[in-house]
């Protein structure tokens, strides 16, 4: 356990210069959360680069490579004076403390769950953990393994951020040990919760921000231990929430955070690539006149570009678009109602979704309109998911059953955030209105 904790701490420290290079005024929980996420991305970049340069991985080469990039970013952070994200509101209050303690307890309980035993999930030892273990044995990315037709089961096209982070832990630990790798999910979950808490406190009172963060544990702490769900949820959710701030408050630092985080989401799972497109489309939908702002998403494209090029060069196909995808889509479109019924039947956290939809109805039109960006992102991403089910060559029932509960949780945190803001503003607005009306009655 000590080695995994040491690797996670190193990841956090490596990411601090990156977080400060993007936003010099970044502080507190947001700095800790963002630093871990950026450190994770930095290690991915370092190990991928070493492999492409045919430099053998070792604890020393990988750490030196990551330190070199971190030092460069620290230099940028000292020199450049980029304007910061919006000022944080009052984050803490005595009334919020019990709720924050409840969140901390939930995180602790989740950590016990995630480390009950060696990582047990099928997709860990057949995909994410398998690749990491193979790469550690090869002291670099084993391209022969990825290209072998016998290894298609491990989805060689999937982005490598998580396997390379696992590999780094093995490198500094001196060998592969999957006993405590469940702690990665805890770290990604904690990073996201710190970011949510910090962003929420800029827009709502500390108690409401604390309750929102507690509610976010339902999605941020992924129960698919060892899979790429936890980093995907963390990078994707944080990315969408920062872009939301950039769109709503025109914060350039938030746009930089969002673009980098989305790029890292796209380096974690294929759904992250779709999320970049969804965010771009939603930005256009919200305000077509600001199409130039789309160009500020360039870091996302730059971060996902290397692996995308490698995938194309090595001919690593995504299984769902295997031959005949269009014909399958046409056939399944005729079963649209039954597909929808299956999706509703398999929807996890149904009460959370019902309440989030109820909040949309309860909220006044004016405050609802302000959150159009996040609602558009969620709707477009859901559309992509349904599109994948339409073209999948796999048995539809099996595919929905094994992926839908995971996919819906990937986009739930931004929706929960926006819905909570809606409820808080609706409550505040109605109360103000009621007081004003009461005042008129008195006169």
């Amino acid at each position: 356990m000590a080695l995994v904790l040491a690797a996670l701490f190193t990841t956090l420290v490596l990411g601090i210069p990156a977080a400060l290079a993007i936003d010099r005024e970044c502080r507190g929980g947001a700095l800790v959360g963002l630093s871990f996420l950026y450190g994770s991305g930095l290690l991915y970049g370092a190990l991928l680069t070493l492999s492409l340069l045919h430099i053998t991985w070792s604890a020393i080469t990988t750490t030196v490579a990551a330190l070199a990039v971190a030092a460069g970013l620290a230099f940028v952070a000292r020199r450049k004076s980029l304007e910061a994200t919006g000022t944080a509101g009052r984050a803490w209050s005595p009334a919020a403390l019990p709720i924050d303690l409840l969140t901390a307890y939930t995180l602790f309980s989740y950590a016990l769950y995630a480390t009950l035993a060696r990582v047990w999930e099928w997709d860990f030892w057949a995909i994410w953990g398998l690749k990491a273990r193979v790469f550690v044995e090869a002291s670099g990315i084993d391209w022969r393994f990825l290209r072998s037709p016998f290894n298609e089961f491990c989805h060689p096209d999937y982005p490598l951020l998580l396997p390379l982070n696992y590999a780094y832990t093995a490198l500094i630990g001196g060998g592969w040990d999957d006993r405590w790798l469940g702690l990665f999910g805890v770290a990604y979950g904690l990073a996201l919760l710190l970011i949510v808490r910090s962003l929420a406190s800029r827009e709502m009172p500390p108690v409401a921000a604390a309750v929102l963060t507690f509610a976010a544990t339902a999605f941020a702490l992924s129960h698919y231990v060892g899979l790429a769900e936890a980093p995907m949820i963390a990078f994707g959710s944080a990315g969408v929430l920062f872009i939301r701030r950039a769109v709503m408050f025109d914060e350039r630092a938030a746009m930089r955070h969002g673009a980098v985080l989305l790029g890292l989401a796209g380096s974690t799972k294929n759904e992250g690539l779709a999320l970049i497109v969804a965010v771009g489309a939603a930005m256009l939908l919200v305000d077509r006149s600001h199409w130039r702002r789309l160009l500020r998403l360039w870091p996302a494209v730059a971060i996902v570009a290397p692996w995308t090029i490698i995938r194309i060069a090595l001919n690593l196909h995504t299984d769902i678009v295997r031959g005949g995808a269009f014909a399958r889509a046409v056939i399944r479109l005729h079963e649209g109602i039954s597909l929808l019924q299956r999706l509703i039947a398999q929807l996890p956290d149904s009460w959370m979704w019902i309440l989030m939809l109820a909040a949309l109805v309860i909220a006044s039109h004016r405050v609802r309109a302000a959150e159009r960006f996040v609602f558009s992102v969620v709707a477009i991403q859901l559309f992509f998911y349904v599109g994948a089910y339409l073209v999948t060559p796999h048995d539809l029932e099996w595919h929905i059953e094994t992926s839908w509960p995971r996919l819906t949780r990937q986009i739930a945190v931004p929706l929960l955030f926006s819905v909570t803001v809606l409820l808080a503003r609706t409550f505040a607005g109605e109360e103000t209105l009621a007081h004003a009306e009461a005042g008129q009655d008195l006169h």
Binding site: L112, W120, W125, T420, L423
Partner: protein
Amino acid sequence: MHPRAILSIACFIGLAIASIRTPPLVLPFIDRTNAHESMTMYPDRGVWWPDYPRFLEAVRAHTKSGDSIALADPTMRWDAGYSYAYYRASYFLSGREVLPLVGPDDRRIMANVGRAQYVAVWHNRPPRGRPVVFAGYGGVLVRR
């Protein structure tokens, strides 16, 4: 208080309550030994536990990085168990090249026997006349 404000508060509290996941929350207060054992055997539950992982560890110990190993299991049918046996072997035998003898369409890939330096056979008949490198945990590792 305005009805919309009351509904907002109710919905907000409802979201907080609905987010509670009871099973992990009780973990700090219970003896986790049973849960540890159950999760340890979870990937190999059924007839595969505990011998198959032990067999694969032994195969790993008797081979070296870069070796190629063909795999035979008792089912020799993809969906009946071979896919699991093959995936699991790929994980335990990382660094070696694990070669399947059955494809996803249940077609036998006997050419892989010729390509492999070793054949790992678990609860199935090993090829005759080949030197046995290891036997135990219900399986045999033979050199080709």
